[in-house]
């Protein structure tokens, strides 16, 4: 199994398209950092426009490395599924397209093993992608913008909130958030892998994955009670942004944040379980479908 995984990772590492994802992340992060370095004030003015008459804030301190990473992740984590799909959706379909799938299947490896190895490789790719994001979006931002307390602007139900987390209480939240994001993106990897079983080139499954993510995300963001109650809990995309839960700090009765706390850990834990459940079901389905599939490519 380890031998197969090494082979799989070797193949991924030799493909030019693997590095597209890393380059894309770097480019997006760098553009963000440049834009905020040049004109972060406008962004702050925008988010704070309704209270700008009541409060004064040192905006240059508010736009710090921690805040930047949050802003970047907020945007980037919507696009990263595409990058994960780029590799994961190629898992089986790419081999079918190249004609190597029939050779793989005629080797003394079970199809179950092959799916598990492909899934493991896609997961490792996802982890590397997130590590790269951590390096660029978090550590590079800290280098460029420095560290300070972090402001979280959030809409909770009917009301908007501004939460402040002190700078010594942030790093562990990012580790947890990146961990959570890994699980969330692994669902995408599993989904792409599943779809790639049915196709003979990777374009179809990439587009299908992206479409599913976009459609579900749109539905997840429609605020209609009937959808909120009956549809959203069943969409995995509702849980993709759960990493933010690690930045929702609990407050005491006076509204003062409690250091080291989470507002709703049970909700995050539940989301994690739901995502892991998705992964298990999708990988199981992939194995079941792939084992019954006639390889005609």
């Amino acid at each position: 199994m380890w031998n197969l995984l090494q082979i799989e990772l070797f193949k991924i590492s030799k493909r030019p398209r693997t590095y597209i994802a890393f380059a894309a992340i770097f480019a997006i992060v760098a553009i963000f950092q440049f834009a905020f370095k040049a004109d972060g004030q406008s962004y702050m003015d925008l988010v704070l426009q309704s209270v700008k008459d009541s409060f004064e804030l040192d905006k240059s301190k508010a736009i710090n490395g921690y805040f930047m990473c949050y802003i970047i992740l907020n945007t980037l984590l919507i696009q990263v599924p595409i990058l994960v799909a780029l590799i994961a959706a190629d898992s089986i379909s790419g081999e079918a397209n190249m004609g190597t799938l029939r050779l793989l299947i005629s080797k003394p490896i079970s199809r179950t093993q092959l799916i598990l190895v492909k899934f493991a490789a896609a997961t490792i790719f996802t982890i590397f992608l997130l590590l790269w994001m951590a390096i660029t979006a978090l550590f590079m931002s800290l280098l460029v913008f420095g560290a300070d307390d972090m402001l979280i602007f959030r809409v909770k139900g009917e009301e908007s909130q501004i939460m402040q987390i002190t700078k010594d209480d942030i790093m562990w939240r990012y580790f947890a958030a990146f961990g959570y994001a890994t699980v969330a993106l692994t669902v995408i990897a599993a989904l792409s892998l599943f779809l790639s079983i049915f196709a003979e080139n990777s374009i179809g499954p990439i587009i299908a994955t992206v479409c599913i993510v976009i459609v579900c995300t749109i539905i997840s963001n429609i605020s209609v009670p009937i959808i909120d109650k009956n549809v959203k809990p069943f969409l995995f995309t509702s849980y993709l942004v759960g990493w933010k839960g690690f930045f929702y700090i609990a407050t005491n009765a006076e509204g003062v944040p409690i250091k080291g706390s989470l507002e709703n850990w049970p909700a995050i834990r539940k989301s994690l379980f739901i995502l892991i459940g998705h992964i298990l079901v999708i990988v199981w389905a992939s194995i079941a479908v792939f084992n019954r599939k006639d390889i005609l490519s």
Binding site: V47, S54, L57, D58, N74, G157, Q161, M163, N221, A267
Partner: protein, 237 residues
């Protein structure tokens, strides 16, 4: 208090009107004198640098207690800084600098009698700006006439709602510098522009607040130390 004054003098209308006018004018002079004394106490401070802690209590703002430095320089420069982190500083907090209210003579002074704050007798004095276009419509000061210090100040503005300062004094009472200020102010409700975030909806219901629109907020500053008249560089403002 004011009403009871009127009641006492209601026996004879003419007499009482005369008395009221007389008492108002003498009291007004009295009040102006008191204000002068207060101002004199405050004038002892040319500048200060203080260490303190600021607690903010606004419904939409979940911020920790901040260690702050407060810089003041005559006539009306004031800055609250959080050097260890970031802080939302209520804009009206500049009026912690009361001398800005007392500066100049372009207001009418009305003596509004006496009251009690935390068991201490205080004189209530209202200031009406003469300029019809001034933002401040009315300021009410509650003055401890023994120490010549302002214990409480309420200010009503045309555009920025009303705010209130409550001060507790300790060892810096001689300089009219409080140990603690509670600043109550009006703020608009915070509304995040649409489309800025995709939030994680954890399924918990948020409790709806009763009054949308304007909210009252509170900031409490506890002063630990003052460095008085040691000079503060302008770069701090």
């Amino acid at each position: 208090m004011k009403i009871s004054n009127y009641m006492k003098t209601s026996n004879s209308l003419f007499f009482s009107i005369g008395l009221i006018l007389l008492s108002m004018s003498s009291q007004a002079q009295d009040a102006t004198a008191l204000l002068k004394k207060v101002k004199a106490t405050m004038d002892k401070v040319n500048d200060y640098e203080a260490d303190g802690r600021m607690k903010t209590n606004v419904t939409f703002l979940k911020v920790p207690e901040a260690e702050v430095k407060i810089y003041f320089k005559k006539p009306n420069k004031l800055k609250i800084k959080n050097e260890k982190g970031i802080s939302f500083v209520p804009k009206g907090a500049v009026s912690i600098n009361l001398s800005s209210i007392l500066n100049g003579n372009d207001y009418t002074v009305i003596d509004a009698g006496v009251d009690k704050i935390a068991g201490v007798n205080v004189r209530v004095i209202k200031l009406l700006p003469l300029d019809d276009n001034a933002d401040v419509v009315l300021s009410t000061l509650y003055i401890d006439a023994v120490n010549n210090i302002i214990k409480k100040a309420k200010t009503t503005t045309r555009l920025n709602g009303s705010y209130q300062l409550e001060m507790t004094y300790g060892k810096y009472v001689g300089y009219a510098l409080p140990d603690k200020i509670i600043f109550t102010f009006n703020t608009k409700d915070y509304k995040l522009p649409k489309g800025v975030t995709f939030d994680f909806d954890d399924g918990s219901e948020s409790k709806k607040t009763a009054t949308p629109g304007n909210k009252s907020g509170m900031a409490e500053i506890v002063f630990d130390t003052y460095l008085i008249n040691k000079g503060v560089v302008d770069a701090n403002f």
